[in-house]
Every structure is written in C-alpha cells, then in structure tokens.
C-alpha cells in the first residue's frame, strides 16, 4: 500500500472486475502510479478519516481524485460522499461517481451532496476504457486544485 500522502487516485469499488478494468484503463494511460483501491465503504471511511476518529474530524489524506461506486458493502457510496462533502477540509477533494446506476434519484442525490462528476459505467468495453481515460486525464492533468487544502497535502512529496 502506498503512503497516504502519495495517493493520487482513490478507487472505491467493490466489483473486482470493474476495478480491474478501471485500473487497466488508467494504467494504459499512465495514470495508475499512485492509485489505491478500496473494496468496501467501511474500508474507505477508515482510510479517509481514520479508524476511531471522532466524527467530523478532518481527513487524514487528500487524494487528487476519488472514484466512487455507489453500491458498496457496509457503507453506501452516497454516505461516503455525504461525509466527504460535509467536511470542511475534505470538501475540496474532487469526487467522481463511477457507477452502474443511471437512476435519476442517484444522480440527483449525488449532485445535491456536491459530487464533482457523475459517470455511468458504459457496458461496452471500448467506451468504458475511453471514459476512464478521459476522466483520469481531466481530473489529474487538466483540472487545477486550490493550493492550500485543509487536508494534509502531499505538496512536499511532489517536490
């Protein structure tokens, strides 16, 4: 496992197949150097906010992008989204929902909670690969985050 402050992409996905395809797509585009894959919601919450951390406490890591599936064991994706966007420091972390659900209410609820982007996983492999490539390129290379983040940044590590 990578050191937390070096993590660029946090992939929260319970489906191993989807995770494998996502990671493969990122890898093919040289975007998978600092990716951490978490398989359930509980694990994700623990990773982000620390086990036993008091509720409302700041995140103990600040990835450049969180790829979040919604339907997760134990802790639901929307719950993780709510926690992230409800936290003053974690709010700036871009969260992209990458899910199978094209249900209107999931989309609406996600945006209401402050998701940065919502992508329905294409069933078609080529389209899926293309989608992952684009969002990785966009959020990691094109998108600019604020300099000072409330979270423990990894600025020193970059230098």
């Amino acid at each position: 496992m990578l050191e937390k402050n070096k993590v660029e992409i946090l992939l929260i996905e319970d489906n191993a197949n989807d995770a494998e395809m996502t990671l493969r797509a990122l890898r093919k585009n040289n975007l998978a150097n600092n990716v951490v894959w978490l398989k359930d919601g509980e694990a994700a919450m623990e990773y982000l906010f620390g086990n036993g951390a008091e509720p409302g406490g700041p995140p103990n890591c600040a990835p450049k992008l969180v790829l979040l599936d919604l339907k997760l064991p134990k802790v639901d994706g929307l719950e993780i989204l709510r926690r992230l966007k409800g936290d003053e420091n974690a709010r700036v972390i871009p969260v992209v929902v990458l899910t199978s659900s094209c249900e209107g209410r999931d989309i609406a609820e996600s945006y209401r909670l402050g998701v940065n982007s919502y992508i329905v996983k294409p069933v078609n492999f080529e389209k899926f690969t293309e989608a992952v490539r684009q969002l990785g390129m966009y959020w990691l290379l094109l998108n600019q985050l604020p300099e000072t983040s409330g979270a423990k940044t990894n600025s020193e590590d970059r230098e």
């Binding site: 489906n15 197949n17 989807d18 395809m21 493969r24 919604l70 339907k71 899910t99 199978s100 659900s101 094209c102 249900e103 209107g104 996983k121 294409p122 069933v123 078609n124 492999f125 080529e126 899926f128 690969t129």
Partner: protein, 828 residues
Amino acid sequence: MKPRQLQKHESQAARLRTVQMISRLLAATNPLDLGQKLTSQLRELTGAETILLLAHRGDGGGHELLHVCPARQSRLFSADELQSFCPEQAPDPMPRRTEDLPSGHPMRALLSRAGVQNLLSFPLRAGGELLGVLVLLNLQSMVLTDLIVDTMNLLSPSIALALKNARAFRQIERQRHEIESHALELERRVEERTADLAKSHSLLVEAQAVAHLGSWQWDVATDIITGSDEFYRLFGVEPGQLADYLQFNSLLHSEDRERVQQNVKDVLKQDRPYDTDYRIPLPGGEIRHINAKARVFYDEEGKPSRMVGTCFDITERKEAEQALRKSEQLYRAIGESIDYGVWVCTPDGQNTYASESFLKLVGITQDQCSNFGWGNVLHPGDAERTIAAWKECVRTAAMWNIEHRFRGVDGKWHPVLARGVPVRDEQGLITCWAGINLDISQIKRAEEALYASEERFRRAVMDSPFPILLHAEDGTIIQASNSWCEITGYSREELATIADWTERAYGEKRALVQVDIDRLYSLDHRVAEGDYTIRTQSGGTRIWDFSSAPLGRLPDGRRMVISMAMDVTERRAVEDEVRRLNAELEQRVQDRTAQLELVNSELEAFSYSVSHDLRAPVRAIDGFAGILSEEHAERLDQEGRRLLGVIKSESGRMGKLIDDLLNFSRIGRTPMKLEEIDMTALAQDVWEEQAHLHPERRPAVNMTPLPPARGDRAMIRLVWSNLISNALKFTKYQPNTIIEIGAITENAETTHYYIRDNGAGFNMKYVHKLFGVFQRLHDSSSFEGTGVGLALAQRIIHRHGGSIRAEGKVDAGATFYFSLTQEPCKSC
C-alpha cells in the same frame, strides 16, 4: 163684504140687505170661525167699541163667553160678571145707558168699572130656546140706536140658530164616529124646521164636506133624489145630473150596478138597513169608493115612501186596503221566492199562513197546516223534538231557530232551517209569529261530504302503515294511529297527552324531547325532525324518524300538528352494518394500497438492482472479452476470434436490452411536464439526428407541416425517435427509401400524426404483437433491435391519453398513426 156704517136715512130695503148680508155670512162661515167673524162684522156695522157674544150653556149653567171683539177685551169681565148679562138676571128692559141703571144696581158698578157708558143687549133665541146673548158696548152714537136695535132684532134668530149649529158642529167634531147618526138627526131636525133653519143648511154642507159625507133622500114614489152639496160632489155631478134613480144608476161603476140595484130592491122589500159599497168612475178617470147607508121610511100603507141616507167617501180606505193587499202580495211573492217560503202563526203557535212552496213540497193544504199538519210530515227522528221545541219557543217567546227534515211529496227528506220571531205591536204584545223556511240541503250535503272527507282522513290516519299522531298545542293527543299503538305497545288510554307519551317513550330524556315538540306548534311548514329512540311498552327500543307538519287550528283555536314517524330500527341497523362494512372495505383498500405500494417499491428496488447489478456482469463479459481480444488475440485462431466477437456482440445486445427495459420502466413512472410542442420542428430534429446515423444511405423524408401538440417534450421526442429509427431500420434493404411524415386532422379536434415507409412491412395477422415488449416480427439478424421501441412509444402515447396503431403489408411498407389528446388521461 165692504164694511160700512148704517145710515139713518137708509130704507127698510137697505136694512134687509144688511140682514141678508149677515145671514149669508152666517151660512157661509165655518162654524168654528162664526163667533169671530160675526162679532168683527157687527162691530164694524154698528160702530160699537166692544162686542160680546155669550153662549147659553142650556143646562142651567149660565152663559159663557163665546167671543169678544176686539180680542184684547176678552178679560173685560170675569166669568161671574158675565152672568149679569143673562136676560133672566138683567133688568128688563135693559137701560141703554149705564147711568140709567138704578143706582145701587150691581150692574151699574160693573159697567162703570169697565168704562161702559152705553150698551145694547140682544137675547139670542131659536124656537123659544135661549141660546145666548149678544152685547154691544159703547156705541159711538146713540142716534142710530133704534136702527141697530131693529136690525139686530131681525138678525138675532139667525144668529141664534148659527150659534146652535156651531154648538152642534162642535159635537160632530168631538164624536166623529157618531157623525152619521148626528147628520141624520140633524137632517131630520133640519127637515122639521125647514122654515127656521133654511140658512143653517150651509153648516151641514160644511160638515159634510169636512167629513166627505153626503146626505141624500130618495122619494120612492116620485123617484126624485135630492142630496146635500157634498153628495153631488162625491158623485162629481151637478144636482140636475143626479135627480132620479136611473141617473144614480148610470153613475155607478158598471160592475157594481147590478149588485147595488139588487141591494136596493132587497132593502125596499125587507125594511132593513141599507149598507153597501160601490164605485163611481169620475170624469178625470179616478175611481171613487163610496159607502152608502140608508133607512127606508114607509107610508101608512106600509109602502116604502122614501129612503134617507148618507154617502161616505171611503176611497182612501179602499186605496189603503188595496195598497195593503199589494204589499201583502209583494211579501207573499218574496216569501215564495225564499226556498220553502215564509210562515205566519198565531201568538199561541197555530199556523195561519204558509207559503205555497212549502205546502207543495210536503203536500198538505193550508187547513192541514193550520191544524199542526206540518208535524206529520216531519222526519220521525225530528218530529217529537221539533214540536216540543216549538211549544217551548211559543211559551217563552224566544227566537225560533231549528233544523229539521220534512218528507217531500217526492219521497225524499228535505233538510230545512226554520227561523222565526214573535211580531209585537206597539204595546209589546205578540200579534203573531212570522218566519221563514230555508232549504239547507246543499249545506247538509256539503256537511256530509265534509264529514265523509274527515272520516276518510281519520281512517287514513288510523290505518296508516306509518305511526301518525295528531296533537294540539295544549298537549292533548287528538288521535294516534293504530300502527303507533301497535309498534309501541301503548294503548290509547295510556297516550292521552304528549306528556304521557314523552314519559313512556323517552323516560329521563323527556324534557329534551318536549322542547323539540313544543317548537312544532309554531311551524308553518313540514319539518323533518330526525331520529329519536323510543321505548316500547315491552321495554325494547325502536328508532323512529319523525316528520311533522302544521295541521291548522281546531275550532277552539288550538294549533294542531301532525307528526308522522317511520320506524327505521331495522334500516338503521342495516345502515350501521353497511357503514361497518364500508369502514372495513376502506381498511382493506388501505391495506391493499399499502401492499401495492410495497410491491411498487419492491419493483423500484428491482429496477434499481437491474440497473446496477445486471450491468456489472455484462460489462465484465464485454470488458474481459475486450481485454482478451486486445491483449491475447494473437494466441487465438480465427474461430476463437469469431467466438470472442459473438461474446462481445451478445454482451453489447444484453446491455442494450437492459437499458431499453429500464427506460421503458422509467417512462411509466416519470412525471409528465405538459407543454406546447412544435411537432414539425421536433420531428425534423429527430429525423436529422437519426438520418445522421446512416450517412451512407442518404435517406430522404417527405414531411408536410404538422399541427402542434401538447405533451411532454422529452417523451414525444422518444416516440418520434423510435418511429423514425424503426422506419429507417426496416427500409435499410430498400434501394429507394421513401419515408413520409404527416398528419390528418379528424373532426377538427383529433390530430393523427403518421409516418409511412416502403420497407419490409409486416403481416397484419400479427399486428397485435407489434407493440408488445420484446415482441419482434422479424429475426434479429435481419433487423437488429430489442423489441422495446414500439412498446415504449405506445406507453408514452397512452400516458398522454392518445392511441397508436399500425397498418402494414409484408414487403409493402408500414404506416404508424398516433394521436395525443389535449388533456391526457390522468389514470394512464
């Protein structure tokens, strides 16, 4: 007559003229005025200052002053003093001067006191009877005294006679009913004294004229009729025209002649008084009625020599009688016109007159009626009571007012209202009874009809299947229907008053109910009071639904109310049951709804699962097949690569199926946003989008402008999208694709949009499968698709309340029509 002084030189003839003049005066003057006229005349003639006319009472009562001229001197002497002038007491001869009276004579002082210097006194005698004294006082000149004395001596018998006649006249005046005998007597006396009383005849004339009484005499032997002036006046003729019996006869009314002649004959033969009435037609056309009376005088041989009699004018009496008769006829006519007429009874109750109409009705005669025959034609049920009442009425002189029935000759009973009163004279004595009989059969019939109607009403109430109660505002129960008593079990005796009812039926709640009942009496319309629970005799309860209405007033003014109840005990029980069942049903509906909602949410959960979970494996299949083909293709042979292609193709189709199915499911649940849609623009837009997917075909569309529609834009877009893609799909083997889009407006209301192609078409036999989910009429190798598109289009159109249909023929193209109503059905 012009008054003048007698002159000394006047001749004997002149003196006689004076005498005649006075005589005529005596004859022509009304006896009542005689004294006044005579004294004033003599005063002028003689120049005396005062003239006294004293009348001798004739019965030894001395003299009384008849008249004095001038009248102011009437108190010159007292009644006693006047007696001094009586010839039997006065000095004889009476000295002409007062001073010549012997001194000490009582008369001298008397006269001196009265200022009388001279006087002349003339005793008035007729046939030796002293009738009075005429005294002239204070003559102006004594020179003419002798002449006056002479003249007065000549006149005094006439004056005496006139005086006597005047006295007789006064007697006639006082005793008018005896005037005939007086007249006859006078006539006889006049006849006896013709010589003496020639001039007194006029007095009789006057008397007769006043009495309209004429006297006459018929000398039978000579057939000469003589009569008084009044006699001729009564006949309206001159004396010469009524001088004999024949003339008399001719003057009579022609209808009376024979009878009068017969009367006269009878009277002459039988020596009996003649008393008959006859009529005389007068020249003016009037009829005079005469009552003639006479006596017959016979000569020594017993033959009738003359008839002496009177004629009395009774025209007025006859006319009065006639008028009375007319009036009686009038009343009789009026009486006859009053139903059963009028009746008259004696004061003791015996009928003396009954109208013809009554007598005819009951078929009895007046005689029978007078003998209480009317009692025999009374209804047996009325007779005793009526007769007793009549006797009592007569005894007490009360008003007669009774109803009874008479048996008519027609065999029917005639109800009659009899009314009568005692008729009283001035003294208040009952002279008769008078009354009327009124026909009250119509009133009776109306009463009977009313009674029958009341009886019907009573029975309607009594036998009504509904409980009915009639009650008055004082709390009296007038009537309770049988059903009322039957249902409650209370007898009528137990329900005498409203208080009885409320106590039995409502127990402790009676006061509340009483308030409701009291309110009813001021109603002016029907009112539905609603349900009341009443207690029955057996202790059970019933529910009565009451309605009440005002029923006017009783004769004594009490307001009455009719209350009717419907026993709704069973109905209310059923209603309660229905209510209970309804509530139960409601509960079941709610339960079912909840179940359905649960199922719905389960379905949604299912959709969500499908959406989320089903895609993952498909994506994995496609994804790993893709990885296999990308990274390991060189290790596969051609067959392996083909199979990998199949996997990829089928997984792709699977993904499409899932997406379509989710769309289809979502369309049914998504709320619609209705708006005005430019169908031409929308269809054009979709066309271009779809045509763009087939650039190699360069498809063309023949589109006419479409009427706008109202609907959910996104959904309608899906419809067009499906229909256009469908058309493009099924024409893909057609070298010359012809697609037509247009609209037909039907009845200016419903617009049918259509799209026609010349593609593969379909067999109409399977048209019903066209819009089913996953239904396909072509194999998927020829025409790709999931079989959801048309089902989705139909679902959208149905949600808009419209319809969609298709026409087609194998290899000859297909046409799809759809319409959207303005207001989509909400239940869709």
